[in-house]
Amino acid sequence: MTAVILLACVLFALGVLGLLLRRNFLFIILSLEVMINSAAFLWVGASVYWGSAEGQVMFLFVAAAAATEMAIGLALLIAYDRLFKTSELG
């Protein structure tokens, strides 16, 4: 279980790292995806630890929220690219 928590934390930290390092719209969305994914992974880890299925139900809802967020984020990226002819921010 310690390994699961450690892995989720490391993946989340990598997502934060990408969010701070990159100034590209696409990479920022990708970093958000990494962070959401690590949080969802921790849900499943907790579900396995407690032997209860509820964590996996929550994993499904997190995945649905992440899919919605990705769809809107990518639509924003396309709109941004159409407006400024680049996907670099700032």
Partner: protein, 155 residues
């Protein structure tokens, strides 16, 4: 639960390393391919933990749907970009490690790190009996996302 198995350790290393490569690689398409590899190894970890349903969902939703959406957007944004030729030993070796894990899993290995396997029916019963309202709400969320993406993406 005992310490993590070999499958868990190798997959975790693979996931962390390919996520790191995804974060620092220069080309968007390379980052996406590295991230897909990271999702595949995370799915192997979920299988190893005994969460088979979550492992399948990770493949279907994340590696299947969301990453294909990303690839479409990348191809839409710069379709004629010439990618520089890179040396292939790093992604190649990551891929070979992943393939070795799959081949090692072939003869029907059980979920090694699982305290108990939580099967599909358990999750579904809970999902539609206890959390039925949340299922409806997330369908509202997906519909709202669809409408918003359509409105934003329109010219």
């Amino acid at each position: 639960m005992l310490g993590p198995s070999v499958l868990f350790s190798v997959s975790a290393t693979l996931a962390v390393f390919s996520t790191l490569m995804a974060m620092i690689s220069r080309q968007a398409i390379h980052a996406l391919l590295y991230f897909i590899l990271s999702l595949l190894s995370l799915s192997l970890i979920l299988f190893d933990l005994g969460a088979h349903f979550a492992a399948a969902l990770e493949l279907l939703i994340y590696a299947g749907a969301i990453m294909v959406l990303f690839l479409f957007v990348v191809m839409l944004l710069n379709p004629t970009q010439e990618l520089p030729r890179k040396n292939l030993w790093l992604p190649g070796s990551l891929f070979v490690a992943f393939l070795a894990e799959l081949i090692w899993l072939m003869p029907g290995k059980a979920s090694l790190d699982a305290a108990q396997v939580i099967n599909l029916s358990e999750v579904w019963v809970l999902l539609f009996k206890k959390y039925g309202v949340l299922v409806e709400l997330s369908s509202f969320l997906l519909l709202a996302g669809l409408i918003a993406a359509y409105r934003i993406g329109r010219k």
